[in-house]
Amino acid sequence: MTATATPDTRPPLTRRPGVLLGVGAAVAAVVGAQFWLFGTAEDTPAAAVSGYFRAAIDEDCPRAFDLLTDPVRGSYGTVERLCERAKADTMVSFQVGDTVTTPEGAKVTVTLVRPNLTLVDAVTMVQVDGKWKIASFEVLSSDRGHGQP
C-alpha cells in the first residue's frame, strides 16, 4: 500500500516561487549594498556576525570557521564539515540587526532568510585575543515550527 499526501494537510513544495525569488534577490541586494557601504573587518560584534554569514554563503569556509569559538566549532568539527553544510545550505540572504553588550561580550540579532523559512537568531559574541568571535547561536523566532505550513 502506498500512501498519498492529502492536499489540505500537506504544504505545497513551493509557494509563489517567483515572488520568493524576487524578495530574496531584493533582500540580498540590500544586504550586499549595506555590506559594501558599511562593512569593515570583524572589529565589531555585528561585523563579525556579518562576516560569518557572508563567508558561509560565499563558501569561504576557513574564514567562517575562523570566526567561531571552540564550542560552536565543535558543532561542525572541521572546516570541511562546515563547508559541506554551508554548500548544502539554501540561505538566500541575511540581515544583521541590533547589538546588545553583555558582561561576557555582546549579543547580535541576525535574520536568516531561506526558502519557506525565516529565522531570527541571537548570536552570542565574545572577544578572543581582541577579535570578536561567535560563541553560540539561539533561535529567537521562526516563522514556522515543525509541521507548520
Binding site: A88, D89, M91, L112, D121, V139, R144
Partner: protein, 1113 residues
C-alpha cells in the same frame, strides 16, 4: 476519684526526684531541649507607649523576645521594654534606617509571671508610630543579660528593586542556638515574606504604617546565619540577625534535634505516605522519628521508626477519614517539638494517584532521557550548540553540559552500555540544511558528550530503534528542508562506529512532519508507524524489505509498546499543527498474532493531541497532558486530568489532575521508584515563545495500596534465558516481576520504551526470575526490574543490564590509592560483571613493573599492608566471577607509604545552579578521618554571599576564607573533618544569603589534620584580578613537610578553558561554562615552601584565587 490520689502522689514524687536529679546534673534527666517557638503577638500604634500581651500563659524558664519599630518626625527611639511580672529586658541591638525608623530588639528570660499573661509595655522617647512583635521561645539560654547573644549582624539600606534584603551573615556561631531575624520598615504597602531557610513567626504587611517580620531558624556550631526578608522596591529597611544561645550552657554541646519541616502527606487506600525534611540533628545523630496521625484532629497511636529517614507509609488508616500528621525527631539528647501539621488527606479505596507540587526548572524539557545512575539527561531546543542538563532527583541539582551541536528534535535511545545515542538534529540555526548528519553520544560515567560517525543523510525528526544485535536503525527525518526526507533508513553499529544505508528500502510512504514510531517486535522486525498518513509497515533490516500492515484509525497520536509486540495508539488529530480538533480514538495491534491487524478499542475519556503515553511499573499505561487541538502554540489547554489504560480491560479511567497544562514538546518517563516524571511543553517555534519551565512527578494509584515490597539484591547484569536470584523479604507475596526499559522520550515518542513481564518462582527470601528468552523481546541494555506484591504495589526498581552473553568481568576501573604508614588504601569501581556475579577481586601492588604479593578481597576497597615506607607503589586490580577473571585494571596512581601521613586526594564533586542553596553528593562513600574542603562561588546582582555549609551527616564546617571579585562574585572556602557519615555518600549543601548563581566544589582528602575549626590550616591567602594568569600570591612559609597546598579558583562563567598552574595537580575543573567556572588543584608543600596557586584563564576575566595550606595529619 480517690484512686487518683496515689497516682498524683507518684507523679509528684517523680517530679521531685527529677528535680533533684537535675540539680545533681544527671544527664539522663537533664537532657537539653532544642529551642522552639512557643507563641507570639504583635501590635501597632501611634503612641508614646504600647502594651502587648501574649495569647497564652508564659512559662518560667522560657525567654521573651521583643522587636520594636519606632518612627516619628522627631526621630523617637525605643526607651524601655517592661512587663507586668517585672522580668528584666535587655536591649540586644538597635539600628536606624535612612528615614529615621529605628529597629531595636529586646529580650528577657521568664523568671517571674509563669502561668500568667504579663502585659509587655514598650515605651518610646516620644509619641511615635510603634510596631511591636513579641515571641516566646523555649530552650534558650536563661542568662539575664546580653550574653544570651552568641552572634549578631545587622544592616540597613534602601531597596532599589523588589527582592530579598538581608542582615548579612553573623560571625561564626560558637554553639547550637536559634537565629532570629528581625525586619522593620515604616510602611510602604509592601508584601513581606521570610527569607529562605527561616520560618516566619510574625508578619505585619502590607500596611501603610510600620511593617515588620520576625522569623527564626535553628543553627548549629560554625554557622553564619543571615536573615533575609523579601520586600519591595524603594523601601528604607533594617534587618538584624541575632543568634540566641541554646539552653544548657550556651549550646556548647549537642542538643535535641530541631523539628522536622515540610511535612506532606499523600492519601492511599487505607494508608497514607508521609514525607518530611529531616531536621538538623543538634550535634548528635537522629536515632528515630515519631509520626503521629491525627484522625479528624484527634491524635492516634504514634509510629516510631529508626534512623533519620524522611518518609513513611502509614498503614491501617480508615478510608473516608481525614488525617493529618506530625513528625518529631529524637536523638540521644532528647526529642524535638512536633512538626507543624501536614496537609490533610483522606484515604480512599480507589485513589487516582497524586501529583507532587510542580518544580521550577530553568528550561523546557523537550527531550528527557533516564540514565542508569538515577539521573536524567534533558534538553530544550533552538540552540547551537545545545545546552543539556543533568538533573539529579536526589539533590534537585542541575549540571549544564554543552552538547556538541544543535540536537533539538534529534532521535534518542540508550546504547547497551548505558550511554545515550542521539541521532540528527536541527541544522538551520546557523549554517546548514534543516537536518544534520550528527551522531552524538553522552556518557553518564564521565558526563561528557562526544561525536561519533556522521550519518549519510541529514535528519531532523527521525526515529531510532535498537535492534536485537545492539545495532540501531534510524528512519525518516527531514533533510535539506521541511519538504524533503531521508528516504533510506540507516543502521548504526556502535562496535565499529559505522552507518550503513539500507538502500533497498524506501520509506517515502511515511513523510512525517513528526517522528515516526518504530518498535522492535518479537519477530525481530521493526514495526514502523507513519502517524500523519496513518500507515504502518514492517521493516526487515536484515533482508531490507518494507511491507505494509494497515491503518489504525488514529492519526498523529501517541503510542507505546505496553507488552512485547503489543502496541497502544491513541488520541491525535488530523493535522500536526494547524488547529484541527483532537481525537479520542484508541487502537491496539498484536504483532505476535499470525496476521497482525489494528483493532479499535474504547476511546479515551478526553480527546487529546500531543499527550504522552507511559507504560508504568504494573503494565498499565498513563496518558498525561495534551491539547484539545493541534495548535502547537497553546500552552494553557486545561487538559489536566490524566487517564490510565488497563490492558486487561482495554478501558481508560480518569486519574488525578496535574497543576500545569502540558502539550506539544512535553515529556514523561517512568522513574525507578515507580513514579512518573513529567516536564516541558511549549517552545514550539523558538526558545523565546512561551514554554513550561517546570516538572511534576506523579505517584500512580499503585503507590497508595499499602506497603511496598523491596528488592534487597539483584544481579547488576545478566544475559538471555538465565535464571537470576532476586533477593526480597517479600517473596511470598510477590505477584509479578516486570522489566521496564530506562526510557528516552521526546515528542510523544519514547524510542527506548519496552515492558517485559518475567516468569518467576518463589523461594525463601528470594525469587528465581527467568530473564527474557531473546534479544527481540528485550535488546541489550539497562532495564528497571520491579517486583509487585499481591496488592499491585511495585518495589523501587533495581537496574539490571541485559548482556548478549555471559563472560568474565570487565576490568575494574578508577583504581585509586592513598598511602598510609607501611600501607595503602586502594579503591576502585566495580566493573561490568559479565552477566555473572563477581565473587572477588585481587589487588596486586607493583614496585615499578615488578608485581608484589597480591591481596584478595570481596569489596571494592582494600587495605594493603606490609608495604615498605619511602618506596613508590602502584596497584592493579582484577575481578573474578564464575566464568573467569578479568584483565587487570590500568595502574593506580603512584603512592609512597610513609610514617608521616602524606595527604592524598580521594574524590571530588561539583555542581552549579540558581537558588538559595546548592547541594552536591559525593560520587563515593566518604571515610571517617578524611577531610572535606568545599569551595563556594556566589554571584547575583545584589551581592549574595555564602552563609554556611552543611552535610547530610552533620559534620561541622569552618569558613576558611572569603574574597569578592571585581564583578561582585564571592569565592569562599570551607572545610570539615569527617567525623560522621563514614561509609556513606555525603550530600554537601552550601547556603547563600539570597537566591543567586551558586557553584559548589567539594574535594575529599586523606591524611590531613583533623583539628577542628581553623586548626587544620597552616596558612591562607586570597587574591582577585582580571589577568590571564590568576594567582593567589605566595603564602607564608609552610611549617612542616607534607602539608597540602590547595588552590581554589572561581569566575562567574565566561566560557574559559581553565588549566591548572604549574606544579599543581588539577582535582576539579568545571570549565568551560557559561555560568560559574571553578577549579581546584593541589600540591604537596615542603617545610619552608610558599605555595602560590595559579590558574590559567583569559585576560579580562574577573577571577578569585585562594591558596590554603592544610596541615598533614
Amino acid at each position: 476519684m480517690g484512686f487518683l490520689r496515689p497516682r498524683r502522689a507518684r507523679v509528684l514524687v517523680a517530679a521531685l526526684l527529677s528535680l533533684v536529679l537535675v540539680g545533681l546534673g544527671l544527664p539522663g534527666f537533664a537532657a537539653a531541649v532544642a529551642p522552639a517557638f512557643v507563641q507570639k503577638a504583635s501590635a501597632r500604634a501611634i503612641a508614646a507607649s504600647k502594651a502587648v500581651s501574649l495569647p497564652g500563659n508564659v512559662t518560667t524558664g522560657n525567654r521573651i523576645v521583643v522587636q520594636v519599630g519606632v518612627w516619628s518626625s522627631g526621630n523617637a527611639t525605643a526607651k524601655t521594654v517592661k512587663d507586668a511580672a517585672n522580668n528584666t529586658y535587655t536591649k540586644l541591638t538597635a539600628v536606624t534606617a535612612s528615614d529615621g525608623t529605628e529597629l531595636s530588639v529586646w529580650s528577657a528570660p521568664v523568671v517571674n509571671g509563669g502561668g500568667t499573661k504579663p502585659a509587655i509595655t514598650v515605651t518610646a522617647t516620644a509619641k511615635a508610630d510603634l510596631g511591636i512583635a513579641v515571641a516566646e521561645y523555649s530552650g534558650l539560654s536563661q542568662v539575664a543579660d546580653a550574653t544570651v547573644v552568641d552572634q549578631k549582624s545587622q544592616a540597613t539600606g534602601t531597596s532599589t528593586v523588589a527582592g530579598v534584603v538581608t542582615s548579612g551573615p553573623t560571625p561564626v556561631t560558637t554553639g547550637d542556638g536559634l537565629a532570629l531575624g528581625f525586619y522593620t520598615d515604616s510602611g510602604f504597602g509592601k508584601t513581606l515574606a521570610a527569607g529562605a531557610g527561616f520560618t516566619e513567626r510574625v508578619n505585619v504587611s502590607p500596611t501603610s504604617d510600620m511593617e515588620f517580620v520576625l522569623e527564626d531558624r535553628p543553627v548549629g556550631i560554625g554557622e553564619q546565619p543571615s536573615a533575609g526578608v523579601s520586600t519591595g522596591a524603594g523601601v528604607p529597611w533594617s534587618v538584624a540577625t541575632i543568634v540566641f544561645k541554646a539552653a544548657q550552657g550556651g549550646g556548647n554541646g549537642p542538643t535535641a534535634p530541631g523539628s522536622p519541616t515540610s511535612v506532606t502527606a499523600q492519601a492511599g487506600n487505607a494508608s497514607a505516605t508521609v514525607n518530611w525534611t529531616v531536621p538538623p540533628n543538634g550535634g548528635s545523630p537522629i536515632t528515630s522519628l515519631t509520626v503521629t496521625p491525627y484522625a479528624n484532629g484527634t491524635a492516634q497511636t504514634p509510629i516510631v521508626i529508626s534512623g533519620a529517614v524522611a518518609t513513611l507509609a502509614v498503614p491501617n488508616l480508615t478510608n473516608g477519614t481525614s488525617y493529618t500528621f506530625t513528625v518529631a525527631a529524637t536523638n540521644t539528647i532528647g526529642t524535638s517539638a512536633p512538626s507543624a501539621q501536614s496537609n490533610a488527606v483522606t484515604p480512599t479505596a480507589s485513589p487516582q494517584g497524586q501529583w507532587a507540587p510542580a518544580m521550577n526548572w530553568p528550561f523546557v524539557a523537550v527531550h528527557m532521557v533516564a540514565l542508569n545512575n538515577g539521573k536524567y539527561l534533558l534538553w530544550d531546543g533552538w540552540h547551537q550548540p545545545e545546552p543539556t542538563y543533568l538533573w539529579d532527583p536526589a539533590t534537585n541539582n542541575f549540571t549544564t553540559i554543552m552538547a556538541p551541536d544543535s540536537i533539538f528534535c534529534a532521535a534518542n535511545a540508550h546504547l547497551p552500555d548505558g550511554r545515550v545515542l542521539v541521532v540528527g538534529g536541527y541544522g538551520v540555526v546557523s549554517t546548514g540544511e534543516l537536518g544534520i548528519k550528527d551522531t552524538t553520544i553522552f556518557d553518564p560515567t564521565s558526563n561528557t558528550w562526544s561525536r561519533a560517525a556522521d550519518m549519510h543523510y541529514p535528519r531532523w525528526y527521525p526515529s531510532v530503534t535498537e535492534l536485537p544485535d545492539g545495532r540501531y536503525v534510524t528512519i525518516s527525518g527531514n533533510t535539506s528542508d521541511a519538504y524533503t526526507w531521508a528516504e533510506h533508513p540507516e543502521v548504526y553499529d556502535p562496535a565499529n562506529n559505522t552507518w550503513t544505508v539500507l538502500s533497498n528500502v524506501n520509506t517515502s510512504q511515511i513523510h512525517e512532519v513528526e517522528y515516526p514510531f518504530a518498535y522492535l517486535a518479537p519477530n525481530g522486525k521493526v514495526f514502523t508507524m507513519g502517524p500523519s498518513e496513518d500507515v504502518s509497515y514492517w521493516l526487515d533490516v536484515n533482508n531490507q524489505t518494507w511491507t505494509p500492515v494497515g491503518a489504525s484509525g488514529v492519526i498523529n497520536g501517541s503510542s507505546t509498546m505496553y507488552r512485547p509486540g503489543k502496541i497502544l495508539y491513541s488520541g491525535g488529530s488530523t493535522t500536526v499543527s494547524d488547529g484541527a480538533p483532537a481525537m479520542a480514538n484508541t487502537s491496539v495491534i498484536d504483532l505476535t498474532a499470525p496476521t497482525a491487524a489494528w483493532r479499535q478499542t474504547a476511546p479515551m475519556k478526553t480527546a487529546r493531541d500531543f499527550h504522552t503515553l507511559t507504560t508504568m511499573a504494573d503494565g498499565k499505561v498513563l496518558a498525561v497532558g495534551g491539547a484539545p487541538s493541534s495548535d502547537q502554540s497553546k500552552l494553557n489547554t486545561n487538559i489536566l486530568a490524566t487517564e490510565i489504560w488497563d490492558p486487561a480491560t482495554e478501558q481508560w479511567s480518569t486519574g488525578a489532575s496535574m497543576s500545569v497544562p502540558r502539550q506539544y514538546h512535553q515529556t514523561a518517563l517512568l522513574m525507578a521508584d515507580g513514579r512518573v516524571l513529567v516536564a516541558g511543553g511549549g517552545h514550539h517555534i523558538s526558545a523565546t515563545v512561551p514554554g513550561q519551565f517546570s516538572a511534576e512527578i506523579y505517584s500512580p494509584p499503585y503507590l497508595f495500596n499499602g506497603a511496598r515490597p523491596t528488592i534487597t539484591a539483584a544481579p547488576a547484569s545478566t544475559a538471555y534465558a538465565q535464571t537470576i536470584a532476586v533477593a526480597t523479604p517479600d517473596a511470598a507475596d510477590i505477584s509479578a516481576v516486570n522489566l521496564v526499559s530506562m526510557g528516552a522520550n521526546t515528542h510523544q515518542s519514547d524510542m527506548d520504551q519496552r515492558f517485559v513481564p518475567l516468569q518467576f518462582t518463589k523461594g525463601v527470601g528470594k525469587l528465581d526470575v527467568q530473564t527474557p528468552a531473546g534479544a527481540t523481546l528485550a535488546p541489550p541494555g539497562d532495564y528497571m526490574l520491579f517486583v509487585l506484591n499481591s496488592a499491585g504495589v511495585p518495589s523501587v526498581a533495581k537496574t539490571v543490564r541485559i548482556l548478549p552473553s555471559i563472560s568474565a568481568p570487565s576490568a575494574p576501573s578508577a583504581v585509586a590509592a592513598v598511602a598510609g604508614n607501611a600501607s595503602a588504601t586502594v579503591t576502585w569501581s566495580a566493573p561490568g560483571d559479565g552477566g555473572n556475579a563477581i565473587t572477588g577481586y585481587t589487588v596486586t601492588p607493583y614496585i615499578g613493573a615488578t608485581p608484589q604479593t597480591p591481596v584478595a578481597v570481596t569489596g571494592t576497597t582494600a587495605q594493603v599492608t606490609g608495604l615498605t615506607n619511602s618506596t613508590a607503589y602502584t596497584f592493579r586490580v582484577t575481578a573474578t566471577n564464575a566464568i573467569g577473571t578479568s584483565a587487570a585494571s590500568t595502574p593506580s596512581n603512584s603512592v609512597t607509604p610513609s610514617a608521616t601521613p602524606i595527604p592524598g586526594y580521594v574524590q571530588q564533586v561539583t555542581g552549579r545552579g540558581p537558588g538559595a542553596e546548592r547541594a552536591v553528593t559525593t560520587p563515593s562513600a566518604v571515610q571517617v578521618g578524611d577531610r572535606l574542603v568545599v569551595q563556594v562561588g556566589v554571584w547575583n546582582t545584589v551581592g549574595s554571599r555564602a552563609t554556611g555549609v552543611r552535610d547530610s551527616a552533620g559534620n561541622v564546617y569552618t569558613k576558611v576564607s572569603s574574597i569578592v571579585g571585581t564583578d561582585n562574585t564571592e569565592q569562599s572556602v570551607w572545610t570539615a573533618p569527617i567525623t560522621s557519615g563514614g561509609g556513606q555518600k555525603l550530600t554537601v549543601t552550601a547556603s547563600v544569603s539570597s537566591s543567586a548563581d551558586v557553584g559548589v566544589g567539594v574535594v575529599e582528602y586523606s591524611g590531613l589534620s583533623l583539628a577542628t575549626g581553623l586548626g587544620a590550616v597552616d596558612s591562607v591567602l586570597s587574591n582577585k584580578g582580571t589577568t590571564a594568569v590568576a594567582s593567589s600570591g605566595q603564602t607564608t612559609a609552610s611549617t612542616d613537610n607534607n602539608h597540602l597546598a590547595v588552590g581554589f579558583y572561581v569566575d562567574s562563567g565566561f566560557s574559559r578553558n581553565l588549566t591548572p598552574g604549574a606544579g599543581f595537580t588539577q582535582r576539579l575543573n568545571s570549565s568551560p561554562a557559561g555560568d560559574m567556572e571553578m577549579l581546584i588543584e593541589d600540591q604537596l608543600a615542603v617545610l619552608g615552601a610558599r605555595p602560590n596557586a595559579t590558574v590559567n584563564t583569559v585576560a579580562n576575566t574577573p577571577w578569585m584565587v585562594t591558596t590554603v595550606v592544610f596541615k598533614h595529619a
